[in-house]
């Protein structure tokens, strides 16, 4: 990009601007492969540096209205945040363990509450981690930041996730819209305050066909089994036989039960296949809706993301995944054969057992890290790049008149999210 282009992109009087991703795919792959190898040999300790590298790459290659973002976070901050989080969580876990050992009803209550409590804490961490990432995001020499109470967010998010579970996912669009509103209302670029304009109801309408395609077969199976099987008689027979040869008795008494079971199995398979086929479309829809809902005062953002691009990324993921799988199988078998040969030379079944276990463990770790890196390099990369490339900004001149505000926040939220396994880039 020449400087003339950059100036043209935000010249006064042309409020419409675009964003684009300028990163090199091969450079990203190098980052991922090196990261995966170092994660494996360092038992994951390298992850703070890995996450920082990935963010630095993604941020600094994201160009909005002619200027790239800058990630100012460091791996050391993440490491310290994680250590503080561990120091906070260890007494909590110890408390749960002691309570579980039984201190009457109070102990039972505490250990029953531990799972929901950790979920709320996880949501708290998600919000605080977002604050860390925002305050490390610098654009045109001005920092982003986030206000708002993480406790309030955690309680709201927990409420919505319970509702999502109770409504079998139908509340998801409304939950996303409310939570995104909460986040964006508290998001600032300098003194430019964000908001979120995406409509939960519109997302609901758009997602409803997908929901029916996935949930429909199951609903059909449910309706079919209710209408064809005489449940009161089945239950009576179940009570009479008391388990054991229950199914055989059912078959002779009520032939409808087996067809109901077949319908259920077919319905579940169709649902799972549908979910897998529709997932890329779902991700594209969510990303388009999310980007299209972002606002900063007078600045509005649109997205022209094509769903086909996300499907293409998944196809690439499958293709690389299959290649990697075969490579791993060949490598693993060669190593195993070598281990058997060596132990046959020197004898010792103990040695063979240990070598087999070690090779198995190593293959598993390599498979996990490899697939994760391939997913990062194909799907996650495509979501980021295509998402950025699809952005059109209306009223981008607002970005040139922002006053600096906000201060960097601590990385404890990131550490908590890491320790509670709710983190992400």
């Amino acid at each position: 990009m020449t400087m003339a282009d950059a100036t043209a992109a935000v010249a006064p009087g042309t409020p419409e601007a675009t964003a684009r991703f300028v990163g090199d795919r091969r450079a990203y792959w190098r980052l991922l492969v090196r990261g995966a190898v170092l994660l494996a040999v360092s038992l994951g300790i390298y992850r703070f540096w890995y996450a920082t590298d990935v963010r630095r790459f993604l941020w600094s290659n994201t160009e909005i209205a002619g200027e790239t973002l800058e990630y100012t976070g460091t791996a050391l901050e993440l490491l310290i945040g994680f250590l503080i989080a561990i120091a906070l969580l260890v007494p909590l876990y110890l408390g749960f363990a002691v309570a579980a050992l039984g201190f009457g009803p109070l102990g039972q209550l505490i250990s029953a509450l531990s799972v929901p409590l950790l979920f709320v804490l996880g949501q708290f961490a998600v919000y605080r981690a977002r604050r860390y990432r925002l305050t490390r995001t610098v654009y045109r020499g001005v920092r982003c930041h986030q206000g708002g109470s993480a406790v309030r967010y955690a309680i709201c998010a927990t409420f919505w996730w319970v509702l999502i579970a109770l409504t079998l996912g139908l509340a998801y669009p409304f939950a996303q819209s409310r939570l995104e509103r909460f986040k964006m209302r508290n998001t600032y670029y300098g003194n430019l305050r964000g908001r979120f304009a995406g409509s939960g109801f519109r997302l609901f309408l758009r997602g409803l066909p997908m929901w029916f395609l996935v949930a429909g077969p199951v609903a059909f199976a449910l309706a079919f089994s209710i209408s064809t099987v005489e449940w009161d008689k089945v239950l009576a027979s179940a009570a009479a036989s008391g388990g054991g040869d229950f199914l055989n008795q059912l078959e002779t008494a009520f032939p409808g039960v087996y067809s109901a079971i077949v319908v259920w199995m077919a319905a579940l398979s169709i649902s799972i296949i549908m979910a897998a086929l529709l997932f890329p479309a779902f991700q594209a829809m969510m990303l388009r809706w999310w980007i299209g809902g972002l606002r900063f005062e007078t600045l509005a953002i649109r997205s022209e993301l094509r769903t086909a691009a996300i499907y293409a990324a998944y196809l690439r993921f499958l293709w690389y995944g299959v290649l990697f799988f075969f490579a791993l199988v060949i490598l693993g078998s060669l190593l195993l054969a070598a281990a058997y040969y060596v132990s046959a030379q020197w004898g010792g079944t103990d040695l063979t057992e240990i070598a087999t276990a070690a090779i198995g463990l190593a293959s598993y770790v390599m498979a996990m890290l490899g697939f994760s890196a391939i997913y990062q390099g194909t799907v996650k990369f495509a979501l980021w790049r295509c998402g950025v490339d699809s952005i059109v900004l209306d009223g981008a001149d607002a970005l040139a008149r922002v006053d600096a505000q906000g201060a960097p926040s601590s990385a404890v939220g990131e550490g908590l999210a890491d320790a509670l396994n709710v983190g992400g880039f």
Partner: protein
């Protein structure tokens, strides 16, 4: 050519200023398009901030205002690189730092593995010794419920525990056998044994003195002493507090590998796999010492200490593969049991620990 066109952000507003940047020997001069000086940055303070490859984005160390200068001219960038000593355009310093980080994280990983293999078992032993028996009893009760739900496959409509009622012959025989062993063992806590309806040839001891004997074990035992040998082995676990120790051990390992190392890419299974590898090595020692305890206890109780070896090898052969057996290397174990039995002085003349009628009643405890 020492000057280049660039952009300047003052860190106060987001306005972009077109500037001319001059890499002079004494510092970096930043001038507006009208030639007026905006700022001069000392080379020592310069830092390259994250940016795309073809762009040099400069900031200053310890400058809270986030002022930035952006240049794309390669010649001027090279010149700045020459002037600024601590400047790392080639990435050499960064690579050196990174190599150091990698080396330290490898060392940390090695140390954690060492702690997992050596430190955690030692710690678990020490802490288990400090736990009062009352707490261990409570622990056992807490685990008992879970173990029962895990073991009870509800296949049978009969009660899960094969207790043919207090005072009935089967139960009485079990009480006699446990009583003889318990008197000889002289434990600080009372034992509570029960036979449960499961077909595997196995027995388990929980913290706090609870022992479950599986129905399948009774079916395969040919003499009361064989069964007593296995019971004595489980009493060994109780006496050595192995249940509590292995619980502490597992907790320590899952903390170490689960929480500290982080869940990179669904590493939950890695944790379990690593635990299995570490624990299987550890369990050999634990089982061997429970075997030795069984030999001593059987001798003291007047039973045949070699019977344990006999039933172990029978179970191992009938299982087909010794990999399936959760107790390691049966041949070695039997050899160690026989050696220990030969070395232990016999106090009384060994005879079966249950009289034939009692044994017959016991065999029928599950009906």
């Amino acid at each position: 050519m020492k000057t280049a066109a660039g952009f300047y952000f003052d860190g106060v507003t987001s306005a972009r200023h077109s500037v001319t940047v001059e890499a002079a020997p004494e510092g970096l001069h930043i001038r507006g398009t009208d030639g007026a000086s905006i700022a001069t940055w000392a080379y020592a303070d310069l830092r390259a901030m994250s940016a795309p490859d073809d762009l040099l984005r400069l900031g200053r160390a310890d400058d809270p205002s986030l002022a930035r200068v952006e240049i794309r001219d390669p010649a001027v960038i090279a010149l700045i690189d020459d002037y600024a000593d601590g400047f790392d355009r080639s990435g050499r310093t960064e690579r050196r730092n990174r190599a150091r980080i990698v080396a330290w994280s490898l060392a940390a990983a090695a140390s954690l593995v060492l702690i997992g293999i050596v430190g955690v078992p030692v710690l678990a032993d020490r802490i288990a010794a400090l736990i009062p028996l009352s707490v261990e009893h409570r622990l056992g009760t807490a685990i008992d419920g879970q173990v029962r739900t895990m073991l009870d496959n509800k296949k049978s409509d009969k009660p899960f525990e094969c207790d043919d009622g207090a005072g009935k012959p089967g139960r009485a025989a079990l009480d006699t056998l446990i009583g003889r062993l318990e008197r000889a063992a002289n434990l600080p806590i009372p034992l509570r044994a029960a036979v449960i309806r499961r077909s595997e040839a196995n027995a388990v001891a929980l913290p706090g003195g609870r022992i479950y004997v599986f129905e399948g074990l009774i079916d395969r035992a040919r003499s009361p002493d064989e069964l007593a040998g296995v019971l004595a082995h489980e009493i060994g676990h109780v006496a050595h507090r192995d249940g509590t120790r292995s619980l502490l051990h597992a907790a320590g390992l899952s903390f170490l590998f689960g929480m500290l190392l982080g869940d990179f890419t669904g590493g939950g299974l890695v944790v379990i796999a690593a635990q299995t590898v570490v624990k299987s090595a550890y369990s050999r020692e634990v089982e061997a010492s429970a075997d030795l305890y069984s030999v001593r206890l059987m001798t003291a109780a007047g039973g045949d200490p070699r019977a344990l070896g006999a039933i172990l090898s029978r179970i191992a052969t009938s299982n087909g593969s010794r990999y399936l057996s959760d107790h390691p290397d049966t041949q070695d174990r039997v050899a160690a049991i026989d050696a220990a039995a030969a070395a232990t002085p016999v106090a009384a003349t060994p005879g079966p620990l249950l009289a034939p009628p009692e044994w017959t009643a016991f065999k029928r405890i599950c009906g």
